[in-house]
């Protein structure tokens, strides 16, 4: 008898379940999807991943700014496995390709920013970490931590960067966000040569310090090159330590200069000793390896990376060129306000410049009469053949305050100011793409639309240097990482008419 009751019970349970289902539906709105009680494994994700591998994406109909070649009107760009496989006007789109229509739009390589901080690493917009009273956040791994562990593929600052076209950035690690070259608002006041006495209102003339200034230990600043591949951790880290970055103060003064020369001498000695050691080991002799100085220093001496430093006045710039020539390393100069006065010397010294056209320096009255910054620096550099990259005044993303518009989101505008200063649009676009890529040693991978390069591309709704232009789509490594209409972090209106 007891066993006979089981089917009835089962039936009751089923009925109860059905009732429960029905009653639960009563409380959800009609348009809601029905619940899935047990977590079902995703059916679509796996096969989609596999077919992604050999899938071709075609960007069709846009004006393609290749940077290395002429503009291709109504061109086609084919992408496969994250690389550009074909570029041209008469490129057939293979069957089954995903087609992105860029008719009437502009296709450029993704921009490369050399001065960024607090983007894509711990301490960015979502990461946390301490916040400085001055307003910047720290970025980068905590002490003793590894950079790979501190990457944040969901940092909102990456979206803001993508939204203005930056697809690759050189991120300063461990530093706070600041005006580039370590300047902040307080120092702006010190810049003013004519301070007035608070009690009598008379001008206080600047005097030399009485005691010699203590030398600062030159510790290089750390950088890493990151792709803004939002949501994709594995493709983010491109390169660590692309420079040996010493602030200008680290090379000023006799003691600093002595330390610097000595460090380089030791690095050179290490390379020689290492060669001797390897020879000795090959010959089967007993030998001890030489003590290694910092890896970056060795790479600097081997000319694998450049010294990145800042030099504002023409005297400082000449000094840096001379020192680089003497000690034999590659040079990248930031903050070179007076580069226009010595463009030929920069060209001869094979130095590269990181230019911020809207950054200013006033000549010191009585000391320098006709120096100071010039909007025309870009034209002088172009004429002399000095490669320059565009950087913004603030190296972080800032949505408010006085920094708004001069932060990373103004990078294309900054390039437009280079054009205003007299350089060609082509040079200005190269200063956003190919030149910084070269400075980072990544010209084989990024910086132009060429076959075999990474598919880091922008689709713009206007010419690249027009202030009205918005990035419509940003593609990093063949993946769409930003869509203006979906991400809605910048205005999404449609401009009426041409």
């Amino acid at each position: 008898m007891k066993t006979n009751r089981w089917p009835t019970r089962l039936f009751l349970v089923l009925v109860a379940a059905a009732v429960a289902q029905a009653s639960s539906l009563c409380y959800t709105r009609a348009d809601e999807p029905t619940q899935s009680k047990s977590p079902s494994l995703d059916k679509k994700a796996e096969p989609a991943k596999k077919s992604d591998k050999n899938k071709v994406t075609a960007i069709v109909g846009g004006d393609v700014y290749t940077v290395t070649h002429e503009v291709i009107r109504g061109g086609t760009v084919l992408i496969k496995d994250g690389k550009i496989i074909r570029v041209g006007q008469d490129v057939a789109v293979p069957e089954g390709a995903t087609v992105i229509d860029a008719k009437g739009k502009y296709v450029t390589p993704g921009y490369v920013a050399l001065s960024m901080s607090g983007v894509g690493v711990r301490g960015g917009a979502t990461g946390g970490g301490g916040r400085r009273p001055g307003g910047g956040q720290r970025g980068g791994p905590a002490a003793g931590g590894k950079l790979v562990d501190s990457l944040d593929p969901f940092d909102r600052n990456m979206k803001f960067s993508l939204g203005v076209g930056i697809t690759t950035g050189c991120i300063e690690l461990g530093g706070g966000a600041q005006g580039r070259f370590g300047r902040n608002e307080d120092e702006d006041d010190a810049d003013d040569p004519l301070q007035t006495c608070p009690c009598c209102g008379l001008a206080i003339l600047p005097t030399e310090p009485i005691t010699p200034q203590a030398p600062t230990t030159p510790t290089p600043r750390q950088h890493a090159v990151l792709k803004m591949s939002y949501g994709h951790l594995d493709s983010m880290l491109v390169k660590e330590s692309p420079f040996y970055h010493l602030p200008g103060t680290g090379l000023a003064g006799a003691l600093n200069r002595f330390t610097w020369r000595d460090n380089l001498r030791q690095a050179r000695k290490y390379i020689d000793d290492l060669a001797d050691y390897e020879l000795a080991i090959k010959a089967g002799e007993q030998a001890f390896p030489p003590r290694a100085p910092s890896e970056e220093l060795v790479r600097l001496v081997k000319k694998e990376i450049a010294l990145r430093t800042d030099a504002s006045s023409v005297t400082q710039i000449r000094d840096m060129i001379k020192l680089a020539k003497e000690l034999g390393y590659k040079l990248v100069l930031e903050n070179a306000h007076e580069a226009w006065m010595c463009a030929d010397e920069l060209a001869e010294g094979r130095a590269a410049v990181v230019l911020t056209p809207r950054s200013r320096r006033r000549a010191t009255p009585g000391h320098e009469d006709d120096s100071g910054s010039s909007i025309e620096t870009s034209a002088y550099l172009e004429k002399a053949g000095v490669p320059f990259a565009i950087a913004t005044q603030m190296n972080s993303v800032s949505m408010d305050g006085v920094n708004g518009g001069r932060d990373l989101t103004g990078i294309a505008l900054e390039a437009a100011f280079a054009v205003r200063g007299g350089c060609s649009e082509k040079t200005a676009l190269a200063a956003l793409t190919l030149v910084p890529a070269r400075i980072l040693g990544l010209e084989e991978r990024i910086g132009s639309i060429d076959e075999g390069k990474d598919a880091d591309l922008l689709i713009l709704n206007g010419p690249p240097l027009d202030y009205r232009t918005y990035v419509q789509t940003a593609i990093v490594g063949g993946k769409v990482c930003y869509e203006r209409n979906q991400d809605r972090i910048y205005p999404t209106f449609e401009r009426a008419g041409p």
Partner: protein, 442 residues
């Protein structure tokens, strides 16, 4: 730890026997609630008008047509609704010396920059067994009954092994259900926190393969002598009993002792889940990558805020479960409102609600009751899922699913009686029963 847990289990068994015998408390006599709406949170779903029979601290029968036992005390509860007691799968308590203290806020109040809430730097402290530091006399536990919380998985915001307790502050000896709970650890995108998981799983893996693992001997923890967990709102509290810092290892939690090794072996073999208190979406990606070689690990992500929605596509293909606050909140740096619970539900990801209230937030958390859950339901989360996420699912997460979480015959009578629909903000929680005994009445 073994003798301790046996003693605890023996004690618990004794109490259960007493309970069944009906000499301590609970009713020998059956109690029947009739004409009551029953949210079973189980297979039976909602029973509009039903009968519920309790006996000896357990549910004897439930259904629309249940024959009343002859000896039953019958309570006509017309218009009321009964649901299982709420299980909080991630209830944070403070233990001096093993809790991450929030850093001082340096942002200027009122400025938009203040949105960058200073998070604690996720540096895990020493491995701390919550059960060893359990302090049942804190007044905070009584307050939780007002919110309908009957079972709690006690964790800290740092690193250790949880303890599962029932919220019966009047009978402190009966509170502990499982002193050997679940391993929890904070994870963010930095090496310090990821290395805790890496090195622990590595050690557990080596131990499984029979290789030697260097164990640190545990200094006697101060918590053994002077238990000091205040769940209530005292910041940095717990010092009043003179409780020192629980002895342990260098910050970073790298060292293993016998207790932590045993707990991590259970994690490695999938016997207990791993509760990762993730700080942001990036931490999820790093953690999933790190757990790839350990196929048996059952991951539960405890997450505060809406940021997890970024990783839903990643989670959908895996057996990852989520503990979240039911809040509908705004995604960072956007104006997008995110109903994370609904997104998870639509993607078929198993999740449970936790109030995720830090000790300081308890008073606020208690004022709003189930409003956040009701709002999530209003935003499209299926109602049944919402109720399960408060009861049955968290019970399963913390290993209580055989005894708690649903209203089904044979389960423990941990029940909440509301004056109306629990998800209606005008309803009042009128009674809380734990093991059939009334522990709170409004």
């Amino acid at each position: 730890m073994k003798p301790r847990s046996i003693v605890a289990q023996a004690a618990s068994l004794c109490y259960t026997l007493l309970l069944v015998a009906g000499t301590a408390y609970g009713q020998d006599r059956a109690v029947a609630y009739t004409h009551i709406a029953i949210e079973t949170a189980g297979k039976a779903g909602r029973i509009e008008i039903g009968t519920l029979v309790l006996r000896g601290g357990k549910i004897e029968a439930v259904g629309a047509n249940v024959k009343l036992p002859d000896d039953a005390l019958v309570i006509d509860a017309r218009g009321k609704t009964i649901m299982p007691g709420i299980v909080d799968p991630f209830h944070e308590v403070r233990i001096t010396g093993s809790t991450i203290e929030p850093p001082a806020q340096t942002g200027v109040p009122g400025r938009r920059g203040g949105a960058f809430q200073a998070r604690p730097n996720f540096v895990a402290g020493p491995f701390t067994r919550v059960a060893d530091n359990f302090y049942p006399y804190d007044p905070g536990y009584r307050a939780l009954l007002r919110s309908g919380l009957t079972s709690l998985n006690l964790v800290t915001n740092s690193y250790g092994q949880s303890a599962v307790v029932r919220d019966t502050p009047d009978v402190p000896d009966r509170m502990m259900i499982n002193p050997d709970g679940i391993v929890f650890t904070p994870v963010t995108n930095d090496s310090a926190s990821l290395d805790v998981v890496r090195s622990a799983l590595d050690a557990a893996d080596r131990a499984r393969k029979g290789q030697a693992v260097a164990l640190q001997t545990t200094p006697p923890t101060a918590g053994d002598a002077t238990p000091n967990i205040p769940p209530g709102g005292r910041r940095g509290g717990g010092n009043r009993f003179g409780g020192g810092r629980p002895g342990g290892f260098a910050p970073g939690g790298g060292g293993m002792n016998a207790a932590s090794l045993k707990a991590w072996q259970a994690v490695l073999e999938g016997k207990t889940p791993l509760f990762a208190n993730v700080a942001n979406a990036a931490a999820v990606v790093h953690l999933l990558k790190l757990l790839e070689p350990y196929k048996d690990v059952k991951l539960v992500l405890a997450f505060n805020g809406p940021g997890l929605y970024e990783t839903i596509d990643l989670l959908a293909g895996r057996r990852v479960r989520v503990v979240l606050h039911p809040d509908v909140s705004t995604a960072s740096n956007t104006r997008d409102r995110v109903v994370l619970a609904r997104l998870l539900s639509d993607a078929g990801i198993d999740f449970a609600f936790s109030r995720r209230a830090t000790p300081g937030d308890q008073p606020t958390a208690q004022e709003f009751g189930l409003f956040a859950v009701a709002y999530a339901v209003h935003c499209g989360l299926p109602r049944q899922t919402a109720l399960e996420a408060l009861t049955a699912r968290p019970a399963a997460f913390v290993g209580l699913d055989k005894t708690h979480g649903t209203i089904e015959a044979g389960k423990t009578a941990d029940l909440l009686i509301f004056s109306g629909d629990p998800l209606d903000s005008t309803s009042l929680l009128s009674q809380v029963l734990i093991e059939g005994r009334k522990v709170y009445e409004n």
